[in-house]
């Protein structure tokens, strides 16, 4: 018999990350890659055709695509698609007992698998931002655009993972938060705006979504959070969500037939 070895949390996360690495090169991985790339690619194509025909591409197009397509829709959709491919997938496919029966650190499992989908998603978000530069976005703004999407994706993916582990209908509550509450930022007064992901995306990217317009009857003045603080808030929020997701998995007894929290 070999001496019992207990992997550290880092080793656990690393093992899951490496073990599931081939999954990103399969169907769901390419869907995730396509989510930010396809809209930007289509807009790029249209912009190229317009230029070829001598038409002027609107100057604010990149910012509009960044906010109205990437940040408001495709980023949350990516979180919605990637979160069920995380540890939730092992619960649904009933493969998690094999991991839970090992001496690994249980709370590190959601993070390890989530990190894989996070890294893969950020890679394609960065490419999508490069595409925005190609349609007239400023190159100087590129780090802030990538940074804002990467930070928001970090927090949103962790948020969706946590909801998936806590609630039977976690995807629904997450979707309502990201697509209803977050979209309502322009009518939210004062500090309530700070409870949206969109607020931090706008403050890190340094640009505003044109949705917020004083001519709207219900529009509210948008509060400002310094860029670095906004990035820090999203990073910490993500860390807290990952930690809570880990705690939830650790505290939920999951047998061979699944768990109560399963949808």
């Amino acid at each position: 018999m070999s001496a019992a070895v207990i992997p550290t949390p880092l080793q656990t996360a690393k093992a899951v990350f490496k073990g599931y690495l081939p999954r990103v090169l399969q169907a769901r991985g390419w869907v995730l890659a396509g989510l930010p790339l396809v809209p930007v690619g289509i807009i790029m194509l249209v912009a190229i055709v317009m230029k070829a025909q001598g038409e002027r591409v609107p100057p604010g197009l990149a910012v509009e695509v960044f906010h109205k397509a990437l940040a408001q829709y495709f980023l949350p959709i990516m979180a919605l698609v990637a979160a069920p491919a995380g540890i939730r997938e092992d619960i649904e496919q009933r493969t998690i007992p094999l991991m839970l029966a090992r001496p690994a650190t249980v709370w590190a499992l959601p993070f390890g698998k989530g990190l894989l989908w996070y890294g893969w998603g950020v890679l394609w978000l960065a490419f999508a931002c490069l595409g925005l530069v190609a349609i007239g976005g400023s190159f100087e703004a590129l780090p802030r655009m990538v940074g804002s999407l990467a930070s928001a994706y970090w927090a949103e993916l962790a948020f969706m993972t946590l909801l998936g582990l806590v609630f039977k209908r976690g995807s629904l509550w997450g979707a309502l938060y990201l697509f209803v509450w977050d979209r309502a930022i322009w009518i939210l007064p004062g500090n309530l705006q700070r409870l949206t992901f969109a607020h931090y995306v706008e403050n890190i990217s340094g640009t505003k979504s044109s949705v917020v317009n004083a001519s709207h009857m219900l529009a509210q003045t948008q509060v400002v959070t310094p860029t670095l603080v906004a990035a820090l808030v999203l990073f910490l929020a993500g860390c807290v969500f990952w930690a809570l997701a880990g705690w939830r998995l650790q505290a939920t007894p999951i047998g061979l037939a699944g768990a109560d929290s399963e949808g």
Binding site: P39, I77, P84
Partner: protein, 287 residues
């Protein structure tokens, strides 16, 4: 000793009992009913319906009550009028929660069978792929239709009861909005069917539906703005669903015109039914 050719037993009478489509639909319907989704969405839809009925009553009062006569002009400014008001009974307020609910339920219809490898068992019975598809698609369309129906019939009936033919709601409203509800239901049903067929689990199915619905809306909006052509919004099922009641109520400036709406709807319905048919072929059903 004679050798007899093998004979087959007489063909079994397969006409006994319900049709497979009815059996599958009944099973899924029972599961949906047990899912306890009704509480949240039921409350939400009830709230929207009450607001609609309140608005209806306000219009009635502003038209008939002396005490409210001073508010008539103000009410006409803040409340939508004419065909726009009629079409609003199936407006965004109803359709957005409807998309969420059909995503949640429809997204799991086929995906659940995929996750638990149920389809091989279903096809082991006298169920043809088209039966399976019709049963799933039928339920996926029935649900949004059932959600929309009260928003057409209840305000219409209330208007008739309180004000007769001169009420704020057209007496012919069901003739305009029930076909619209049907088109929306077919559209929503086929999108959720196709999305669910592509997913490996109900949660992923929910993600796929929302991804398709919201992603195309965002893209359509940007393309329409960039190319200054509203017709590009027709790539979005959300936009198509919004346009149908407006078109059928004869709104002057609908979200989309007839041609893109019809083409977009036909394209979406064909595409997603094709996707679902490909993904639910018996050859795909491996144990």
């Amino acid at each position: 000793m004679p050798i007899y050719a093998p004979t087959l037993p007489p063909r079994e009478n397969l006409d006994r009992g319900s049709h497979p489509i009815a059996v599958l639909m009944r099973f899924d319907f029972g599961r949906v009913m047990k899912a306890k989704l009704g509480i949240f969405f039921g409350f939400l839809f009830l709230l929207i319906l009450l607001i609609q009925l309140g608005s209806l009553y306000l219009r009635y009062l502003s038209n008939t009550s002396v005490a409210f006569s001073g508010m008539k002009d103000f009410a006409s400014q803040i409340l939508t009028q004419g065909p726009e008001y009629q079409a609003d009974h199936l407006g965004q307020a109803v359709l957005i929660p409807m998309w969420f609910q059909v995503a949640l339920i429809g997204g799991g219809l086929v995906a659940r069978d995929t996750l638990h490898r149920i389809r091989p068992l279903i096809y082991a019975h006298p169920v043809r792929p088209q039966d399976y598809l019709l049963a799933k698609g039928g339920l996926a369309a029935l649900l949004p239709f059932a959600i929309q129906l009260p928003f057409v019939l209840i305000p219409w009936a209330m208007s008739l009861m309180v004000a007769g033919k001169n009420g704020p709601i057209w007496t012919t409203l069901p003739l305009h909005l029930i076909p619209a509800a049907l088109m929306i239901a077919i559209l929503a049903g086929s999108v959720t069917l196709g999305a669910s067929a592509m997913a490996g689990s109900p949660r992923a199915g929910f993600g796929w539906v929302l991804g398709i619905v919201l992603g195309t809306f965002a893209l359509g909006g940007i393309l329409a703005g960039l190319l200054k052509a509203k017709a590009f919004l027709a790539i979005s099922p959300v936009a198509l669903a919004t346009a149908w009641p407006q078109l059928l109520c004869g709104m002057k400036d609908p979200f989309l015109d007839w041609v893109p709406t019809v083409i977009g709807t036909v394209a979406h319905v064909s595409l997603w039914i094709f996707v679902a048919a490909q993904r639910t072929k018996p050859s795909e059903a491996v144990l």
